[in-house]
């Protein structure tokens, strides 16, 4: 139901960030423009202060939002892919 495990994720170590109204402002390595994460994106960033299995992130968000894990997973995976593409989060080997 939760799909194939994609391992653990953590914040990109060189990402600089600040809390701002409505979310978290992040500046990725090499990026000129910052990214403003709000809602579930901000929640993911907070959870990934320590390395976490993707499934654990899904379960935590599902519990917090009182929705099915499959629903969260469908939203979260593209979000994590996008964050990884921007080097905001990195896989833990």
């Amino acid at each position: 139901m939760r799909g194939r495990s994609r391992g653990r994720w953590v914040r990109g170590p060189s990402v600089l960030w600040r809390y701002v109204p409505g979310g978290i402002l992040l500046l990725a390595p090499g990026a000129d423009d910052p990214v403003l994460l709000s809602g579930s994106g901000a929640a993911v960033w907070q959870l990934l202060a320590e390395p976490l299995q993707e499934e654990d992130v899904i379960e935590t968000l599902a519990r917090a939002c009182a929705v099915e894990a499959t629903v969260v997973a469908a939203d979260l995976r593209p979000l994590l892919d996008e964050m990884a593409a921007r080097e905001l989060v990195v896989p833990v080997r």
């Binding site: 170590p13 060189s14 109204p21 910052p34």
Partner: protein
């Protein structure tokens, strides 16, 4: 309630014991626009958005969004500067140059609960005098150039405060060897600044800042001497440190005496307490209130806060320079700056002697 009153109340937000009040109702649009402009200029948007989020500063939805936009812009600048700071520090470390990050990023991480409270517009790094030229070379390697040419080769390293450099991205870095130009800067015992340190983390990098007491001393120099009209952020820094940082008071007193800086510290704390109408009484604020400046101290402070020029500060610094040869080198550098057209040297001599005339009679009254 003037715009200045509102912005001062914003800048003190979160400090215990302030008697300044924020508006009870959303400001009319013209007053809001003026307030927001001043908030951005004074770099206190972090306190504004916090007050709005806490419901302490009632605003309309549009005003809340405008405040958030200003703050996000400010934080974008802070993050870009921190990335630049990390690059510079790594380059200094690679060349074996000791350093301490001053103000901006260091205060954001070490002095405030949330670094988003403290905005900044440049970076400031202190290096030992003996490594100053090497640090300049590191900056030049990064494409930096001085905003104003050095008066004379080696002047900054021996007598100056340091220099301001601009990198190709447009960011500015103040490379310091002491806190300020003039007599107060020359009296700082520079070895004290590197005897201790505090660390803070930016990204994955651990950076060095001044120890807590030396940091307070620098904040006081910045608040009391950094501008003719005291700016709100340095005053907030002073109040924040005095009220919310664990300080060894005896060490602060010792540094004040050793650096002949009692007048600077007392003035800065007094200004902070007056500006933010702070009722909180702590030993340092009591000492500052009771400290009486003598005429010599008033004269020295006025060099930084009045419209008197750089040349007056330069003349006043002469007694703080040890040894006749060094004094002669200092005067020679001021009188015959490298690269200055000859026709301007006479003007410069007149300016320096004018500085001496302006300053010395004031001291003479002591």
């Amino acid at each position: 309630m003037t715009t200045g009153d509102v912005v001062a109340a914003v800048a003190r937000y979160g400090l215990a014991g302030s008697r300044l009040s924020l508006p009870a109702q959303p400001l009319p649009s013209a007053a809001w626009a003026a307030t927001l402009e001043r908030v951005e200029e004074q770099r206190v948007s972090g306190f504004l958005v916090e007050a709005i989020e806490d419901g302490a500063f009632p605003v309309t939805d549009d005003q809340a969004q405008q405040a958030a936009d200003v703050h996000i812009r400010s934080m974008h600048v802070a993050l870009a500067l921190e990335r630049f700071l990390v690059d510079v520090v790594r380059a200094l470390e690679f060349r074996g140059i000791d350093y301490r990050v001053l103000k901006g990023s260091a205060y954001a991480h070490l002095v405030y609960d949330d670094p988003a409270f403290r905005s900044f517009g440049d970076i400031d790094i202190l290096v030992p005098s003996g490594q100053y030229d090497k640090a300049v070379a590191v900056l030049r390697d990064q494409g930096a150039h001085r905003r104003v040419p050095e008066l004379h080769r080696g002047f900054d390293r021996r007598f100056g405060k340091g220099g301001t450099f601009v990198v190709p991205s447009g960011h500015e870095i103040d490379l310091h060897r002491t806190f300020v130009f003039g007599p107060f800067g020359l009296n700082v015992r520079l070895a004290d600044l590197f005897a201790t340190s505090a660390t803070f983390v930016v990204g994955e990098h651990e950076l060095l800042a001044l120890g807590a007491e030396e940091r307070l001393m620098h904040a006081c120099f910045d608040a009391a001497l950094g501008a003719r009209r005291p700016r709100l952020v340095p005053l907030r820094d002073v109040a924040q440190m005095v009220l919310h940082t664990a300080l060894d008071r005896e060490k602060v007193e010792r540094l004040c005496v050793d650096w002949q800086a009692e007048a600077v510290v007392a003035t800065a704390i007094r200004l902070a307490w007056e500006t933010f109408a702070l009722a909180d009484v702590v030993p340092l604020s009591v000492w500052a209130r009771q400290y009486e400046l003598d005429h010599r101290e008033e004269a020295a402070l006025s060099l930084y806060t009045s419209r008197l020029s750089y040349s007056a500060q330069a003349a006043a610094a002469l007694p703080s320079i040890p040894g006749l040869r060094a004094k002669a080198a200092y005067l020679r550098a001021l009188t015959f700056p490298a690269g200055a057209p000859k026709r301007r040297l006479g003007d410069r001599l007149r300016r320096i002697s004018h500085g001496a005339r302006v300053y010395l009679p004031r001291v003479g009254r002591a």
